[in-house]
């Protein structure tokens, strides 16, 4: 692992610590906010850069998932901090995210950044109307972004090989590439990722896989081998959902975990403030874990989530045929959302026996998320005896 800046130098480069010191000349003069920043040193931090497969794009390992940001000045700060690749999607904030990015790009030299957007066709991806829908959404996205071309266009949120290999969409991707409206093509996936990534390799059309990749994935070993196969085949890999979609995550450790895999070219964490940007910059500048991060990662796999996945894998396991997912949801209402009133309403609708677990000495339900189902039922069943006036 090559680290191009050390911690002390890095602190000078961070968004909050050294903001404005890093402004490339090409990015100056966009707004009063930019010009307000002091500019005494324009030495940008040099993150490790990796090549995005056969696209040949050389990207810093840290990019920006813009989906959660609504402040153009945060995007500009990211640019000033050395980030060059920005990821959005047709559907984020129903297009307002692309529009916001378009305003930033308007005054920014086109060769100083790269951008990816994504088109989601949902359940219509395999239907006859898919090509027309795709083109309509793509054209709208290009208008919002105000660009002649995007660097990567993703078919978004795919969870099966058939959709990756669907001929009409492949034809559109190739046509747009020939027309110069997109430079590279890709598929994004949050579910059944290994199979989707293998289909991307098989397609011979797509260049990039944008995939959920984090330390909490149950199939992480399978993911690692899928990414290796993709890299071997010349597919560029971009990691998303590196924070595992959860709160109370050590952001720096989670990001490092993904980037330590050399098959990942870059990651797109969705920071929303300058402090989070700094944390991501710090992580990308030095991928080795600190002692705190090592501790977090060592314990990470043992921290159970509070939220029932409603996967129904527990269906039929309970001898009393209790509606386990509904009960787990009620538990979540009470303990996750601090809304015991809603928990009580939910349980009342289930018509449970007075003591639902009375006939069992021990709970035989095995939960994939590691819930102690029996204990949670015993806990939440008590809410029925609490008078409503205490539950508002």
């Amino acid at each position: 692992m090559r680290n191009n800046i050390n911690r002390r130098r890095f602190l000078r480069y961070t968004a909050t610590g050294g903001a404005g010191l890093l402004v490339p000349a090409s990015l100056l003069g966009q707004s009063r906010a930019d010009t307000a920043a002091p500019s005494k040193n324009n030495t940008a931090p040099k993150f490790e850069q990796r090549v995005l497969g056969r696209t040949g794009m050389k990207l810093p390992i840290l990019s920006m998932g813009v989906m959660r940001a609504d402040n153009p000045n945060l995007v500009k700060a990211a640019m000033r901090s050395g980030i060059v690749h920005f990821d959005t999607a047709h559907g984020y904030q129903r297009g307002n995210n692309e529009t916001m990015l378009g305003k930033v790009f308007k005054d920014t030299p086109r060769d100083s950044f790269t951008v990816a957007t994504k088109i989601n066709l949902g359940r219509d991806v395999m239907t006859e109307k898919a090509p027309a829908l795709f083109m309509e959404r793509f054209n709208t996205s290009m208008e919002r972004l105000g660009l002649d071309y995007v660097d990567i266009l993703f078919l978004h949120a795919i969870d099966n090989a058939a959709a990756v290999l669907h001929g009409p969409i492949l034809e559109i991707m190739e046509k747009l590439k020939k027309e110069g409206r997109i430079r590279h093509t890709g598929v994004s996936t949050h579910k059944n990722e290994p199979a989707v990534i293998d289909a991307v390799v098989k397609s011979k059309v797509y260049d990039v896989a944008l995939t959920a990749y984090n330390f909490r994935q149950e199939h992480v070993a399978e993911m690692k081998t899928a990414l290796a196969r993709a890299t071997e085949a010349g597919i560029g890999v971009i990691a998303m959902k590196t924070m595992a979609g959860a709160k109370n995550v050590n952001v720096s450790a989670a990001l490092k975990w993904a980037l330590q895999d050399k098959n990942v070219c870059t990651a797109i964490p969705g920071f929303t403030n300058f402090e989070e940007l700094d944390v991501c910059l710090g992580a990308a500048a030095n991928l080795r874990y600190t002692s705190d991060e090592k501790t977090f990662m060592a314990q990470a796999g043992t921290v159970p989530t509070l939220y029932c996945q409603q996967c129904d894998a527990c269906a039929g396991q309970c001898p009393q045929n209790l509606p386990i997912p509904d009960l787990m949801r009620a538990y979540m209402y009470a303990h996750g959302y601090r809304n015991p009133g809603l928990a009580k309403e939910t349980i009342a609708a289930l018509d449970l026996p007075a003591n639902p677990c009375a006939d069992c000495a021990a709970c035989t339900v095995h939960c994939r998320s590691g819930f102690n189902v029996g204990a949670k039922i015993a806990d939440i069943a008590r809410v029925r005896s609490v008078p409503d006036e205490f539950l508002v």
Binding site: A36, G65, N71, H156
Partner: protein
């Protein structure tokens, strides 16, 4: 005694109106429609698995204190046409307005459904209290569009017939305001982790755009703390005191800011629009106090 009971009844009424709907209740609220059948399956998503249904768009919902999404379909009899309902519940009406306003664009056809709604090709969306409802279809026929609007109206009446937009929007003066530009930003306003619960609207003057905002500190001490954090961040040494001053924010430019009670009022003016900041912010402070 009567007064005490009246207050209790009012409180009970408020609690009732603000009560969140369970997935089963929401399903029961949906009207029967001739020629359409509700899908048997009602799917429910929470904070942990919303990604499974709406992918990366989930991020913004989570920031806006999303709690639960209930989804099911109306299936058109004898065809493959369907209308999908996604019914999102957030922690508070303000949180719901945050996500609604993040997705709203002023070019839609707005409808008097719930607190506010709109339609576009293949969609009808509306807001009511803590619920944000989306009806979507790939069938763009007029018949299906009418059916969606009817379902939305019926559902909105059941959720809350008196639904209204957040009262905080009245703080923004009408003159120069861009229609339906108001937003609520739950956290990290202006990209600062310490600035939360901000209401913002866009304005135009002489062709130049600027934005006006009000941050609700919930209490006077809360506003003071946020302001102190802000001044510390920008390395301004003055002690926070109620009144008007300028925050020199190296990321967002110079921000005229007025602290009054629990609120911080401010202007983001990148374009250099000629605005009498003191008068505008004082006017807002008066309205907020009312």
């Amino acid at each position: 005694m009567i007064k005490k009971y009246t207050i209790l009844l009012l409180l009970a009424g408020c609690a009732c109106a603000a009560r969140a709907q369970t997935p089963a209740e929401l399903r029961a609220m949906l009207p029967a429609v001739d020629g359409w059948t509700l899908s048997d399956k009602t799917e429910v998503f929470n904070r942990d698995n919303l990604f499974d249904r709406i992918n990366g768009a989930a991020d913004v919902f989570l920031i806006c204190n999303f709690e639960e999404m209930t989804t099911l379909d109306y299936l058109k009899d004898g065809s493959k046409t369907y209308v999908t309902l996604q019914m999102y519940r957030h922690a508070t009406p303000a949180d719901t307005f945050a996500i609604y306003s993040a997705e709203r664009t002023p070019d839609m056809t707005f409808l008097d459904i719930g607190a506010e709604g709109y339609r576009a090709a293949g969609m009808v969306y509306f807001l009511s209290g803590s619920m944000y409802i989306k009806l979507m279809t790939a069938d763009e026929s007029a018949e299906t569009a009418a059916m969606m609007e009817n379902v939305a109206r019926a559902l909105a009446r059941k959720i809350d017939p008196r639904a209204a937009l957040p009262a905080m929007l009245k703080t923004f003066p009408a003159e120069g305001k861009q229609p339906r530009s108001e937003m609520y930003i739950v956290e990290s306003f202006l990209g600062h982790k310490f600035l939360n619960s901000a209401w913002r609207a866009a304005y135009t003057k002489d062709g130049k755009e600027y934005q006006v905002f009000v941050i609700d500190g919930k209490t006077k001490a809360g506003a003071e703390n946020m302001l102190a954090d802000y001044l510390k961040f920008v390395k301004q040494t003055e002690r926070p005191e109620e009144g008007l001053f300028t925050v020199r924010d190296r990321f967002n430019g110079d921000i005229p800011l007025l602290w009054r009670g629990r609120y911080l009022f401010g202007i983001i003016n990148d374009s250099g629009a000629q605005v009498d900041a003191g008068a505008l912010l004082a006017q807002m402070a008066l309205t907020a106090q009312d």
